[in-house]
């Protein structure tokens, strides 16, 4: 128990002294996971909407693949991204392994199916006649999509939270493709693993608390946005 109290104290100390090292790590976590979430939103919402609103042969198979992708294990993604990015691998010429960019790529791969799966479910839960009604009122296809997304904004924001939550808390892929290089590719989760290995449990707990705070604040903001215009 003592160690948790020590960790709490350490967390406060690190946060309020604006410890440079911790600050860099925290900001990088936010940037990498934030950017990965953005990419996953772009890919996930667009493809998810397309799948939800169209009929084509093998559609059920595609949807099940997307849904299975929501459970994609980060280490598996990490391993494959590593092998592809090896400098003697197929994408080695990009020289991306052990960079923050590689971490963004891996995390985007993890988050995209999550966002896509929730998007498919959200779009399909809208009444089918709504589409006809919108089109009948003279909306263009793009306007229709926009209105549908607005209608589905509650579950879509849930998709944002799930996607971001999935990647900011992820460690397996980040440590493999980022390498945990100090001041460059070390993020909160990989630093926690390392400090645990070093027996610096107080620092590890402090980092975890900072991570939890982050996740809470961001979800609080998203929830406030989500609940602001709750449909009655």
């Amino acid at each position: 128990m003592d160690i948790i109290v020590e960790g709490l104290l350490k967390a406060f100390q690190l946060i309020f002294s604006l410890d440079r090292e911790v600050l860099t790590i925290a900001v990088l976590s936010l940037q990498v996971s934030g950017l990965a979430t953005m990419i996953s939103l772009f890919l996930g919402i667009s493809c998810g909407t397309a799948v939800a609103l169209t009929e084509f042969p093998g559609r059920n198979l595609v949807v099940s693949i997307i849904n299975a992708g929501m459970a994609l294990p980060p280490v598996v993604v990490g391993l494959f991204v590593t092998v592809f990015l090896w400098r003697n691998g197929p994408f080695g010429f990009l020289q991306l392994l052990y960079t923050p960019t590689a971490m963004v790529i891996a995390q985007a791969i993890i988050a995209t199916p999550i966002v896509m799966g929730i998007t498919v479910a959200a779009m399909q839960s809208l009444p089918k006649k709504l589409r006809l009604q919108i089109l009948a009122l003279g909306a263009t296809r793009l306007q229709m999509l926009w209105i549908l997304m607005r209608e589905a904004r509650l579950p879509l924001l849930a998709a944002v939270m799930a996607g971001f939550g999935g990647v900011i808390s992820e460690v397996g892929a980040s440590i493999m493709v980022g390498g945990n290089v100090l001041g460059y590719s070390r993020v909160l989760t990989t630093a926690t693993v390392m400090e645990t290995g070093r027996g610096n449990f107080d620092v590890a707990i402090a980092l975890s608390i900072i991570l939890l705070l982050f996740v809470f604040i961001i979800n609080l903001i998203l929830t406030l946005i989500q609940q602001r215009e709750r449909p009655r």
Partner: protein
């Protein structure tokens, strides 16, 4: 309505600035020539590299990407040309790497030693035994829990060497468990389960305060833990940053670095964690 739109736009602008701002820094770092150092967990977990790497970067302008894994994985990375230089402690495997022509210029950097650690009440009664083989035999015959790294690291290789020397086939025994984790975490598991394990002295000392494990056997010649730097042959893997790898290897053997190694940890742990050995021969160590 209009003001709300504007405030939204501003929020979006702020978020994207935060997201993109720092990314320029990593890009700059990547433009500097980088050196990939594959090394063992012990050099990282003891904190030695945290002291040495910044000095190397300042001296040479290279940017070091330290990938800290078990010696086995580090050497696999070298074998595939995915690292520029290795700092490892698994001599038998190192010689194979050199024999294959991929590893070149293998040079002795430093040593420390392995120790058998275990719970202070020492249920297998190994304390006081001179010979490490005897201690291993005692653990085996008492059937008390022994935790192995099980990760092909240098420490794991050494541990298997000692089991073999003691004539014990431990792999399938119930009291023998493999963690598959790094040294620090394996020590934590041993502490938690009150088991025995073989650890490098550096990591053990660095973690000692939280463990509650004691050194129960040390000093036997078989326990020597020897670190070498190995450069990766650019003739085998053309994409290797050979100049950077060589610069790092030279740096590890330089007078200045060897002095740092000699005093590293003295203030914090009351004793040196590593002993510098540049220019010495392996046969003369520990004498």
């Amino acid at each position: 309505m209009k003001t709300r739109k504007r405030s939204r736009f501003i929020t979006a602008l702020i978020i994207s600035t935060i997201l993109l701002s720092g990314l320029f820094r990593p890009v700059m770092a990547a433009e500097m020539k980088s050196v990939i150092l594959a090394t063992t967990t012990s050099t990282q977990d003891s904190g030695l590299l945290d002291v040495l790497i910044p000095q190397f970067e300042k001296n040479t302008g290279y940017f070091v990407k330290t990938i800290s894994v078990g010696s086995g994985q580090a050497m696999a990375m070298g074998q595939k040309g995915e690292a520029d230089v290795l700092l490892v402690h698994s001599p038998a495997a190192e010689l194979k790497l050199v024999a294959s022509g991929v590893g070149i210029n293998r040079r002795l950097v430093m040593h420390n030693d392995f120790v058998i650690v275990g719970p202070s009440d020492d249920p297998a009664k190994v304390k006081g035994l001179k010979s490490t083989r005897e201690a291993f035999k005692k653990i085996a015959s008492s059937g008390k829990l022994f935790l192995s790294r099980g990760d092909n690291s240098g420490t794991h290789a050494k541990e298997k060497e000692v089991w073999k020397a003691a004539g014990i086939n431990q792999e399938k025994e119930k009291w023998y468990q493999q963690t598959g984790l790094g040294m620090g975490q394996t020590l934590n598991v041993a502490a938690e389960k009150k088991g025995y394990t073989l650890a490098d002295r550096g990591t053990y000392l660095a973690l000692k305060k939280t463990l509650g494990l004691e050194i129960l056997n040390e000093g036997d010649a078989i326990l020597l833990n020897i670190y070498h730097v190995i450069e990766i042959n650019p003739a085998k893997w053309p994409k290797v940053n050979a100049a950077g790898g060589k610069a790092f290897a030279d740096f590890m053997l330089s007078r200045q670095t060897q002095d740092v190694i000699k005093t590293f940890g003295v203030d914090k742990f009351g004793g040196a964690l590593f002993f510098p050995d540049a220019g010495k021969k392996v046969e003369d160590l520990g004498k």
